[in-house]
C-alpha cells in the first residue's frame, strides 16, 4: 500500500474511533439532565455541529480573503471544500434542533432570532454553492465566490449574538451564557473534537476532489493539443 494511502486509512480509522468514543460518551457516560431527561443528549452533537460549522465557515472566510489577495486557485478549492462541509454541519444542526425542540418546547420550529438567523446562514452557504455551479469561467467563479464567502460570514457573529440582541426561545450559549454541569464538559469536548476531526477529514477529501477536477481539465487540454499536433504532422 502506498504511504499516502496508508496515512489516509490511519486518519480515517482514528476519526472513526474518536466518533465511536464520542457516541458512547454522549449516550452512556454523560449524566442525564434533570428537567429535559434523555432528549438533552442531542446537545452533544447539536452544539458541536454548530461550532464545527462555524469553524468551517471561518475557513471559507479566510480562504476567500487569501484568494482575493494571492489569486491562487488552491485557496478557492479550500473555500468551496470548507463551505460544503459547513453546510453538512448546519444541516445536522437544523435537523437535530427540531427533534430536540418538539418534546421540550412542544413545537418543532419557531421563527425567533436564533433559529431564523441559523436558517439564513444555511441558505447563504447553499446559495454560495449554487452560485458556483452557474459560472463556467474558473477565475470569475473564484472571484465572485470569494466576495460572496466574505459577506456570508457576516451572519456568523449575528447567529451567535442573536441570543443577547433579541428575546428568543433558544437556550443560552454554553460559553458566556447559561453554563454547563462540570461532568458534561469532558463529554462535550470529546464530541466537539470528534466532529472537528471529521470536518478536517472531509475537507481534505473534498479538496482532493477539486485538485483532481483541475488535473482532469489540464489533461484534457493536453490531449487536445497533442491530437491537434499529431493531425498536423500526418498532413
Amino acid at each position: 500500500m502506498p504511504r499516502g494511502m496508508k496515512t489516509s486509512w490511519l486518519a480515517t480509522a482514528a476519526v472513526a474511533a474518536l466518533i465511536g468514543l464520542a457516541g458512547y460518551s454522549a449516550l452512556f457516560v454523560a449524566p442525564t439532565e434533570r428537567t429535559m431527561g434523555l432528549i438533552q443528549r442531542i446537545f452533544y452533537f447539536h452544539v458541536p455541529s454548530a461550532w464545527t460549522g462555524f469553524v468551517a465557515f471561518f475557513l471559507v472566510f479566510v480562504s476567500s480573503i487569501a484568494y482575493l489577495l494571492r489569486r491562487r486557485p488552491q485557496w478557492d478549492w479550500l473555500a468551496v471544500s470548507a463551505a460544503e462541509v459547513g453546510v453538512a454541519c448546519f444541516t445536522v444542526v437544523l435537523v437535530t434542533g427540531p427533534i430536540w425542540a418538539k418534546p421540550v418546547w412542544g413545537i418543532w420550529w419557531t421563527w425567533d432570532a436564533r433559529l431564523t438567523s441559523t436558517f439564513v446562514l444555511w441558505v447563504l452557504y447553499v446559495s454560495y454553492l449554487l452560485l458556483r455551479t452557474l459560472m463556467g469561467d474558473p477565475e470569475r467563479r473564484a472571484t465572485v465566490s470569494a466576495v460572496f464567502g466574505i459577506f456570508a460570514f457576516l451572519d456568523v457573529p449575528l447567529v451567535y449574538l442573536s441570543i443577547w440582541f433579541w428575546r428568543t426561545q433558544h437556550p443560552q450559549p454554553v460559553i458566556g451564557g447559561g453554563g454547563l454541569d462540570k461532568r458534561m464538559w469532558p463529554v462535550f469536548l470529546i464530541c466537539w473534537a470528534a466532529l472537528l476531526a471529521l470536518m478536517a477529514l472531509l475537507v481534505r477529501q473534498r479538496y482532493r476532489l477539486e485538485a483532481l477536477c483541475h488535473e482532469v481539465q489540464e489533461l484534457a487540454i493536453d490531449v487536445e493539443l497533442h491530437s491537434a499536433e499529431r493531425a498536423t504532422e500526418i498532413r
Binding site: G23, I39, P103, L209, C213, V216
Partner: protein
C-alpha cells in the same frame, strides 16, 4: 426511557448526513480518478 426514539432518530440523522456526504464525495473522487487514468492513457497513445 421517555424520548428514546427521538434521541435515536437524531443520532441516526447526524451520522446519516455525514456518511451520505462522505459517500458522495468518495464516489465523485473515484469517477475522477478513473477519468485521470483514461486521459493519461490517451496522452500516451497520442
Amino acid at each position: 426511557m421517555k424520548n428514546l426514539q427521538s434521541l435515536m432518530a437524531a443520532y441516526l440523522f447526524v451520522w446519516g448526513i455525514f456518511f451520505a456526504y462522505h459517500l458522495t464525495v468518495a464516489r465523485r473522487l473515484a469517477r475522477l480518478q478513473d477519468e485521470v487514468e483514461r486521459l493519461k492513457a490517451m496522452l500516451k497513445q497520442v
